[in-house]
């Protein structure tokens, strides 16, 4: 087969596609140009909602820390929660800026690179959130009890109780990670949990990193 045949063949495909489009104009009619939200727009909306919720939480935690600066237990718990929430707010704001900078009028490789980096950032954010959550349960308990019930958890339940809670969090994290790695090796794992397990096992981060590297290699062949 000559190479020009490929283009000739493709022109035939085009002609049939034109005929098919003439018969089926509904795709064009269905596009309500002004109001259609793109998938990227929907993602930005989701990130914005998360960002607002976390910013509100950060303000609350900051206020709590300021009010309890003389109480070492609640203050330390609020500081830990504050640092974790601040990191999340920074990650979400970075993602939002990255989404806002994506311009579909730019060269394809540049957009693909931006999307790959965005995916990596989101994968890291979700992985870190899931990995740290069991450990944040204890400071959250201390802050919530103090803020809403006026109870100092460390004084009321004793340090061993708080330490046991922290230990349960660590154990839960270890078990979840083990289960995720085992399930990851099993292609028949139930699909609703698939993504959660992939994230926990670090597969999402690894896949995103691989995609970033693959594109870099593709473009590097340009040199």
């Amino acid at each position: 087969m000559e190479l020009d045949d490929l283009q000739e063949m493709w022109r035939g495909y085009d002609a049939r596609l034109d005929a098919s489009l003439a018969l089926n104009e509904r795709l064009l009619r269905r596009a309500s140009l002004g109001g259609t939200q793109t998938a990227l727009g929907r993602l930005a909306l989701g990130v914005r909602v998360e960002l607002v919720a976390d910013a509100i939480a950060l303000i609350f935690i900051g206020g709590f820390a300021a009010d309890h600066v003389r109480e070492p237990g609640p203050f330390a718990a609020a500081a830990v929660l504050g640092v974790a929430t601040l990191a999340l707010v920074i990650a979400l704001a970075t993602a939002l800026v990255a989404i806002g900078r994506i311009d579909f009028d730019a060269p394809v490789v540049a957009i693909a690179g931006s999307l790959d980096r965005l995916r990596l950032l989101r994968a890291w954010t979700v992985f870190a959130t899931l990995a740290v959550s069991p450990l944040l349960w204890t400071p959250l308990l201390i802050v919530a009890l103090r803020a809403f019930a006026g109870v100092d958890a460390i004084a009321a339940f004793g340090l061993p109780y708080v330490a046991a809670n922290l230990a349960v969090g660590v154990a839960l994290l270890a078990v979840a990670s083990l289960v995720a790695r085992r399930a990851g090796a099993n292609p028949h794992a139930p699909s609703p949990y698939r993504r959660l397990l992939d994230v926990l096992a670090g597969y999402e981060v690894r896949a995103a990193r691989k995609q970033v590297d693959a594109l870099a290699r593709y473009v590097a062949h340009d040199a």
Partner: protein, 181 residues
């Protein structure tokens, strides 16, 4: 003179209708099911409309449109956005294959379309632009690669296309000889 919003919209719709097959062709190459194709075409129309303000009428509309729809298709496939769309099941994949055969009763162009659909994201864009007859310079500008790189990658892709299509033809002949469909 500045055009009114209605005039701008009419001009856009007229251009879009004239070049509608670009979006459909790219959607078919990147989407995996008829549902994907429809979602993608709608996404493309929305993105084109949003970017239309920045479109320079001095440039060919088809080239600009190709760049935007390829970016939408790649964003759909590469990023986590795909997960926002429903999963493709085997029935949908079968419908997509049937749709392809309906368009290509002789089967050869279907093989080519299938070969293109099986390529990596950027290679797919490269091949689509080549098959639509764009010169290396324009392909390079659309993709953000150098002309040398485009030429090297295209040579590799064309050679692989040739052997994939020859293999397909051999298998089809073998299938006919054995009375299979």
């Amino acid at each position: 003179m500045k055009r009114s919003a209605a005039e701008r919209r009419d001009a856009f719709v007229a251009l879009l209708e004239r070049h509608a097959n670009i979006a459909v062709k790219v959607a078919r190459a990147y989407g995996r099911s008829p549902a994907d194709h429809e979602d993608l075409v709608q996404e493309m129309h929305a993105a084109l409309w949003r970017s239309f303000e920045r479109y320079d009428p001095e440039r060919p509309f088809a080239t600009w449109m190709y760049r935007v729809v390829l970016n939408v298709a790649i964003s759909f496939q590469r990023s986590e956005l795909r997960r926002l769309n429903r999963r493709v099941d085997f029935d949908e994949a079968a419908v997509a294959a049937a749709e392809l055969h309906e368009l290509e009763p002789d089967g050869r162009a279907a093989q080519l379309a299938r070969y293109v659909a099986g390529l990596g994201d950027v290679d797919k864009a490269l091949m689509l632009l080549y098959l639509d007859g764009y010169p290396h310079r324009e392909i390079a500008a659309t993709l953000g690669l150098t002309e040398t790189n485009v030429a090297t990658k295209l040579a590799r892709l064309k050679s692989r296309a040739r052997s994939a299509l020859s293999d397909g033809a051999d298998k089809a002949a073998e299938g006919q000889a054995h009375g299979t469909r």
